[in-house]
């Protein structure tokens, strides 16, 4: 491994240190005798001699003695500039020299005096973080776990917390999203790196303190009293043939402070792009990832998605025009320090080839990969983790080549999915508050509790009866109760259920559970949701069993349904669209599962695609209106109106969210505003643009509907009922007002819709659970008016307030039908 061993500069003192340690460990006869490892790294450096600038390299050497479990007891580090013939090593450490991030029993840092200022902080971070990654892979240890092993739980709390929060955000350890096809030259990998400093003012660093823990010095960054840590997780795609590198995602967070109170803040996208460009020589456009909350409200994102410059919208460079102060520039340098090592580590993960000197440009990578023995590539860590082609084919339901009837047969003959072993107990203290909050938001956006809470029952304890055209499906208990809930579900089992609709025991879930949408969710969102659900209080509640009639009670048939209709691919952002649009689409198509109600379904309950997307469906006996250029809305929906409606449950130009939409809005009200704006932005983009002035005029005209002449056409009874019962809240004028909003019938979608169901629902049952309390309440009139009166009232409202629409037929029986439905 020590390919450069001969080049290591001998320093007498350090050798003695090593020798003495060797003796020690022999003397103690420890079973895990110390192992040694040394590596050499290079970093390009621009030196300034007088007026002449020259490029040279910094030589960075790391040598450790370590146990078999990876515990590095000694740490020797030497740095010098390549052109210096005689290394004049200086044991003293000057400001700006490598900081010891990790704790070892013995450390020795030697940086050439003349090189101390020329070598940037990133170089030291690159050497250190690459080395630890190499050691971890050699010992088959997780690189993050190995780092945490060298950070003290008490004194390095802030550093540990930063690592924890960033790796959680990046779903470190999870499967890499969107598997590349086996035949493709592209391979995928992920790397981690970390850097930072603890400010312990006034402590001079002596580099050779035997047995003592390192004391860190500051670089004079004027942020007294705050530790500062940065962690990067980089996802790369590498083309094995051309050496091209595509950085797909960067999760980078800066943390400070103490565990518990720690908060990770992101980096501006342009900084990420700058750092990546320095390491790869390629300019990528970076922008907030689609699973990043809070896009557009000024906070720097933690997770960024990158694309090759020129293809994507140029929206990420907004912040660069400003000139930076030297302090800011220094902060930025520090924050970008782990970038090179994270990329190198990701390259190794993808290809099995270690790159020990930046830049990682296509030509160098191509040559290195061409020189590498083919076994290296096959042994790349990411390749080893990848399930075999055969297994993926099976997991994807690839039982193909048969006609529809045979699919069912095949499904009932072939063995079903395997159960995933139960886990005994899960340590919920593992997850950071930030992850739990993300999980809460995801649960709110996905309205888990709406379907998984029985009326009057405990939240998420299941038992809600969902009426489907195929029978009643009862929702399951989502609380972490071991017997009746998901307490024994591992993350793998949870993610499989969410993405593939397969329960932990291997049985298929009915697609009433919208895993078809949840498959779009990103890995880190899925993990955060799991963390949140598993951290809730367990509730022992065994919901009723779902018993659909034969043959639907054969759950294996769902495998065939999945094969026909379920697309397991995760969300892929559209580079030509804005960050906000992508965020909105991700929420709408993914966890928000809007299509579950608003997209029409075919005869066997699958959402139709293509032009039918979001053009209106049904839910729980309610009509879910089209979200695309809806003809039922008297005034076209603008982005602002959509936002009002989604955020507050009321749009003055359209009406109130009621029925199954009310709890959806109640959930959206707890999300960051920018997420709801993104959803409104995306949904509005599906329809032709709306001129705000034109629609405001249309709204003004439509709201003043006259009933002149209607009374002579047999609407007299309906008019009287309306005046007596409805007008107090719904007339255009009159009264002194009342608590809540005043929805006008002339603008109301439920009045202009083709079906009277939604209007009759509200007339009979009122709105006793408004989306948000400030909307006010409506009493139900089901016990006051009989079906004939209901029909008269609805006919009158329709004739007066939707004059362009044909009158509804059979209102009396429609009203009677609704009444017989259990509500």
């Amino acid at each position: 491994m020590n390919q450069n061993g001969d080049d290591v500069v001998a320093v007498r003192d350090d050798e003695r240190t090593l020798e003495s340690l060797r003796e020690q460990s022999v003397g103690n006869e420890k079973p895990g005798a110390a192992l040694y490892r040394s590596e050499r790294y290079q970093w390009p450096v621009r030196t300034q001699t007088g007026d002449a600038a020259a490029m040279t390299h910094a030589d960075l050497m790391v040598e450790t003695g370590h146990e078999r479990d990876g515990t590095m007891t000694t740490w020797q580090y030497r740095a010098r500039l390549e052109h210096n013939e005689v290394p004049a090593c200086d044991a003293g450490v000057e400001p700006g020299t490598p900081l010891l991030v990790y704790r070892h029993a013995q450390t020795s840092v030697a940086v050439e005096a003349s090189a101390a200022r020329a070598i940037p902080v990133q170089a030291h971070a690159f050497a250190r973080e690459s080395f630890i990654d190499e050691l971890a892979h050699a010992l088959h240890r997780d690189p993050v776990a190995l780092r945490l092993q060298h950070l003290d739980t008490q004194r390095d709390g802030g550093a540990r917390e930063t690592i924890r929060m960033v790796t959680e955000r990046a779903a470190w350890g999870g499967a890499l999203a969107a598997q590349v096809e086996p035949a493709s030259p592209w391979v995928r990998g992920r790397g981690f790196a970390f850097d930072g400093e603890a400010l312990e003012p006034g402590a001079p660093l002596s580099s050779d303190e035997k047995g003592s823990l390192p004391v860190r010095v500051t670089t004079g960054t004027p942020n007294p009293g705050a530790d500062s840590w940065t962690a990067w997780v980089v996802d790369v795609d590498v083309n094995r043939e051309t050496g091209d590198v595509a950085i797909r995602r960067v999760v980078a967070g800066r943390g400070s402070g103490e565990p518990g109170a720690a908060r990770v803040s992101g980096l501006p996208s342009w900084q990420v792009a700058d750092a990546v460009e320095r390491s790869t020589g390629v300019r990528f456009l970076a922008r907030s990832a689609h699973d990043e909350t809070g896009v557009g409200n000024g906070d720097a994102a933690v997770s960024h998605e990158l694309s090759v410059a020129g293809r994507a919208l140029n929206e990420s460079t907004a912040g660069t025009a400003r000139t930076l102060t030297s302090v800011e520039a220094d902060t930025i340098e520090r924050a970008a320090a782990p970038a090179a090592a994270a990329i190198a580590n990701a390259l190794f993960d993808a290809t099995g080839v270690r790159f020990r000197a930046p830049p990682f440009d296509a030509e160098r990578i191509r040559r290195a990969l061409a020189d590498a023995p083919s076994a290296t590539l096959a042994g790349a860590p990411a390749q080893m983790r990848r399930p075999s082609r055969w297994r993926r084919w099976l997991a994807g339901g690839g039982i193909g080549g048969v006609m529809g009837g045979l699919i069912g047969l095949a499904c009932s003959i072939l063995p079903g999915p395997a159960p995933i072993a139960p886990i005994s107990i899960i340590d919920t203290s593992l997850w950071s508050p930030a992850t739990l909050e993300r999980g809460r938001q995801i649960a709110a956006a996905g309205d888990c509790a709406v379907c998984h809470t029985a009326p009057g029952g405990k939240t998420n304890a299941g038992g809600f009866a969902l009426d489907t055209p195929f029978g009643t499906v009862y929702s399951t208990n989502l609380t972490p109760d071991a017997q009746t809930g998901i307490g024994t579900w591992s993350y793998e089992a949870f993610a499989r259920a969410m993405r593939e609709g397969i329960s932990r025991d291997g049985s298929h879930l009915y697609p009433a559970f919208p895993y078809t949408a949840f498959a779009r969710m990103s890995e880190s969102d899925m993990m955060a949701l799991y963390a949140y659900l598993m951290s809730q209080a367990p509730v022992r509640n065994a919901p009723p069993k779902t018993n659909l009639p034969f043959p639907l009670n054969q759950r294996r048939l769902v495998a065939g349904w999945n094969w026909l209709f379920h697309d397991t691919r995760p969300f892929v952002p559209d580079e030509t669209r804005s960050t906000q649009w992508n965020r909105g689409k991700y929420l709408v198509d993914g966890v928000g599962h809007c299509g579950a109600c608003h997209t029409p379904r075919n005869a066997i309950g699958a959402e139709k695609g293509g032009f039918a997307y979001l053009t209106g469906g049904s839910a729980e006996g309610w009509d879910a209106p089209s979200l695309v250029a809806s003809r039922a809305s008297p005034v076209p929906w603008s982005e602002a109106a959509l936002f009002d409606y989604l955020r507050t449950g009321f749009s003055a130009e359209h009406g109130v969210a009621a029925g199954p939409m009310a709890p959806v809005v109640a959930g959206l009200a707890t999300l960051p505003e920018s997420d709801v704006r993104a959803m409104a932005h995306y949904v509005a983009s599906l329809s032709p643009p709306v001129d705000a002035e034109v629609s405001a005029r249309a709204a003004a005209t439509r709201s003043i509907a006259t009933d002149a002449g209607l009374t002579t056409l047999g609407f007299e009874n309906g008019r009287r009922i309306f005046e007596a019962s409805c007008a107090v809240c719904h007339a255009e004028s009159g009264g002194v007002g009342h608590f809540g909003v005043r929805p006008l019938m002339g603008l109301n979608t439920s009045v202009a819709q083709a079906s009277p169901d939604n209007l009759l629902h509200v007339l009979q049952h009122g709105i006793d659970q408004p989306a948000t309390e400030s909307l006010g309440y409506m009493p139900g009139f089901g016990d006051v008016f009989d079906d004939k009166q209901m029909a008269e009232l609805a006919s009158y409202i329709r004739a007066r307030y939707a004059p362009g629409q044909p009158g509804w037929r059979d209102l009396e029986s429609a009203s009677a039908g609704l009444r017989s439905r259990a509500h």
């Binding site: 998984h452 029925g659 007008a727 107090v728 009264g735 002194v736 009342h738 608590f739 006793d768």
Partner: protein, 171 residues
């Protein structure tokens, strides 16, 4: 819908400036029931129970509210004013005094709503003309037919308030 019922528990409301707590009420109990049955404030009347007649009108945070159709929970953290909060028999609110002076009651059942709505109207529009008065009280039902007297009372109340300059601060 999967909303869970609001749990029964102590419910604390601020009514006429006084914080009061009721035990064992569910949060979806209509505000009117709590006011009349628990707080013994019988100014607001139970009329239709459907928000149509206006006899139950109270004022929640300056907003006239039909207390029979809103749950008591909406009043949590808000100020509730009932007829009792306007004035007392010894110190009548100008609106109350105007209704007495005009003898605007026959059976009097609707008067709580008429008076509360008038107060809300005059807070917003201190000098309403007859059309404005009729439009404002259009959805307060009176079965006895004292509509003329009621309109006169509103006019007189506006006069009293202008004269006394108290329409902002009386309650």
């Amino acid at each position: 819908m999967a909303h869970s019922s609001p749990p029964a528990g102590p419910l604390t409301l601020t009514v006429n400036g006084v914080r009061r707590t009721v035990q064992g009420a569910t949060t979806d109990t209509p505000l009117l029931y709590i006011l009349r049955n628990d707080f013994e404030l019988n100014g607001p009347k139970y009329g239709c129970g459907l928000g149509q007649c206006g006899a139950c009108t109270v004022i929640v945070d300056d907003q006239p509210t039909r207390s029979c159709v809103v749950p008591a929970s909406i009043a949590i953290g808000r100020e509730v004013t009932t007829l009792e909060g306007l004035g007392t028999a010894d110190a009548l609110h100008p609106v109350q005094r105007a209704f007495i002076d005009e003898q605007a009651a026959q059976c009097g059942y609707c008067l709580n709503g008429m008076i509360m709505s008038t107060k809300a109207l005059l807070d917003r529009n201190p000098e309403p003309d007859d059309d404005a008065i009729r439009d404002a009280l259009r959805f307060n039902l009176c079965r006895c037919g004292t509509h003329f007297e009621i309109v006169n009372a509103v006019r007189r109340a506006a006069q009293y308030l202008r004269h006394e300059g108290v329409h902002e601060s009386e309650r």
